[in-house]
């Protein structure tokens, strides 16, 4: 079960060279600045772009190889574009049924009603698409795509044309999609916050080539890749809420062998959450501090360091099996004698919880 794409394409001075093998499950983010070739790669996978010499396969199907080129409408993909692009001459219902009616009955796995419920658009069905807000239009577009029961969902920055408020309106639906449908998704984005919330796997593109790909936690913390050196460098840790402390309004979470304590707003026991920990919010100490206001302090082992400037060093430590990033001063590295293998304590000042 996998998606492979390999090709090389030169346009003017830009060369896009790709050779990837992606897992066909979960959400894989294609991440990179604009102009790095993300959309072209997605369009090639969809068959909207015919790149000579490309080889593209999905599971047991060969979509493109030598003289074989399966046209888009036979690929059983779903594609959500940046703009919703609803058909203006059809009602919302007409838009939703457009793809559904072209899906053979044997291939229908997602019911239209379920897609409508999932995206919360039940009240919009008889409306004229042009009267919907941008966020509503994009939700209809996503439901329209889901109603075709695609085997692979391709999303090209589906939130980028929306303002912040509308983004927050749609993100929960995408997360539900992720949880409730066993549908592999390839998600193009240049926004770290979207990627951190949604992605399981990450492919980093820059200037037409792939810098690296793998599970998101590893990609965020690989010191040889640019993500670990951004101003907002961060780590993700998967955790489960074990119990709530109603007296103090806190939630206790378990991640591997470690217990985290966070504010409990909106959480309940049994929730699976992602903890997002910024490299700025992690400090390192030689001994376990006592009498501190910081709740989350853990023993860690240094695995790698990388200087970022004259003054600052990025330190990667392991908290059990979870990597953690700490941005510290070079002076501290000298004073604490921080090097690979060193045992330290990490104090985590701030944790964002992504449901």
């Amino acid at each position: 079960m996998s998606l492979t794409a390999s090709f090389s394409l030169t346009r003017d001075t830009f060369t896009l060279s790709v050779d990837i093998n992606l897992p066909a499950s979960g959400i894989t983010a294609l991440f990179g600045p604009s102009g790095s070739g993300k959309t072209t790669l997605l369009r090639a996978i969809a068959g909207l772009e015919h790149i000579p010499g490309a080889r593209i396969t999905f599971q047991e199907n060969i979509w493109q190889e030598d003289r074989t080129f399966v046209p888009t409408h036979l690929r059983r993909i779903g594609y959500v574009f940046q703009q919703a692009c609803l058909f203006p001459h059809l009602s919302v219902r007409g838009n939703l049924e457009y793809g559904l009616h072209r899906t053979p009955i044997d291939n229908r796995r997602i019911r239209l009603d379920d897609a409508v419920d999932l995206l919360g658009i039940g009240a919009l069905l008889e409306r004229d698409p042009l009267t919907l807000s941008g966020g509503e239009q994009q939700r209809v577009a996503i439901a329209r795509t889901l109603a075709t029961s695609p085997q692979l969902l391709l999303m090209d920055e589906p939130l980028s044309s929306l303002d912040h408020k509308r983004k927050l309106e749609i993100l929960p639906y995408l997360e539900t999609l992720h949880r409730e449908l066993a549908l592999p998704v390839l998600y193009v984005s240049h926004a770290t916050d979207e990627v951190a919330r949604l992605a399981d796997e990450l492919v980093i593109l820059r200037n037409g080539s792939i810098l690296g790909s793998g599970p998101i936690q590893q990609m965020l913390t690989r010191l040889d890749l640019p993500l670990a050196h951004r101003g907002d460098a961060e780590t993700l840790i998967q955790a489960r809420v074990t119990n709530l402390d109603s007296e103090f309004g806190l939630a206790h979470l378990q991640a591997g062998d470690h217990k985290f304590i966070v504010t409990s707003a909106g959480l309940k026991a049994g929730d699976d959450v992602r903890l997002r920990i910024s490299a700025h919010d992690v400090s390192l100490t030689l001994e376990q501090q006592r009498g501190t206001s910081i709740q989350n302090i853990f023993p860690v082992t240094v695995v790698e360091t990388a200087p970022e400037s004259d003054a600052q060093v990025m330190v990667k430590v392991m908290l059990g099996t979870n990597p953690l990033l700490a941005r510290v001063t070079r002076k501290s590295v000298n004073e604490l004698d921080i090097a690979a293998g060193k045992q330290l304590f990490a104090q985590i000042k701030g944790i964002a919880v992504l449901a």
């Binding site: 457009y98 072209r102 329209r144």
Partner: protein, 222 residues
């Protein structure tokens, strides 16, 4: 009351305009679609050819059509018989003469809708033929209305081409514009008024009906 010859001219004109418009829409739609979509680098040559009737004096077109369709022309030599001074000849002349007024609005409409809606339809499982019928045609609706109105109106108003290849045979090739010209030549202003005024009224009612029925769309903007 208009003379029977004038009534015949009116009906002949309407028949000519309807038939020409119908043929132009049937032939022009695939042509405009192709022109709107092709990446062919020499397509500008065809676009120039389609636009040629816009700039040529109608008599030039009429002259060459007369030669082509006439008794000694290539068509007759191929066994097609002479079409000069026949209704069929008028239809051929009108179709060529009004071609740009139909193809250009259609091409513009197809281009304005863009590739994206068709790409979306493809990802929803629509074959190329379904995309054309269910997306491209409905989205180009304002263009079709413009094309039909302009093609029809332009055929009604044509004079030079008709005079060259159709002559002035009452009941067979005499159209309204030529009948009006005849009345003015013979100083019969009353009959000229009746036909000319009637044509103005007819045209206005027709355009008003089309605009009224399509208030949502931008119809004719030149």
């Amino acid at each position: 009351m208009p003379a029977s010859a004038d009534l015949a001219a009116l009906f002949l004109t309407l028949r000519l305009a309807l038939l020409s418009t119908f043929i132009l829409l049937v032939v022009g739609t695939p042509a405009a679609w192709w022109l709107a979509r092709t990446q062919w680098r020499y397509k500008f040559l065809l676009e120039a050819l389609v636009a040629l009737p816009l700039v040529l004096p109608p008599t030039v077109l009429g002259f060459y059509l007369l030669i082509f369709l006439g008794a000694n022309g290539p068509l007759a030599m191929l066994g097609g018989g002479s079409l000069a001074f026949t209704f069929s000849g008028l239809v051929i002349g009108s179709v060529i003469y009004s071609m740009p007024f139909v193809i250009q609005p259609l091409q513009d409409a197809f281009q304005a809708a863009g590739r994206r809606p068709l790409e979306v339809a493809a990802t929803l499982g629509a074959s190329p033929w379904e995309r054309f019928l269910t997306i491209a045609l409905p989205l180009a609706r304002p263009g079709f209305i413009t094309a039909a109105v302009l093609g029809f109106a332009h055929t009604i108003g044509e004079f030079g081409v008709v005079l060259m290849i159709g002559g002035n045979i009452p009941g067979r090739t005499q159209v309204l514009s030529i009948a009006i010209y005849d009345h003015v030549e013979s100083l019969d202003y009353a009959s000229a008024h009746l036909l000319a005024g009637g044509l103005i009224l007819l045209s206005f009612l027709m355009l008003a009906a089309v605009y009224g029925a399509n208030r949502r769309f931008r119809v004719v903007r030149l």
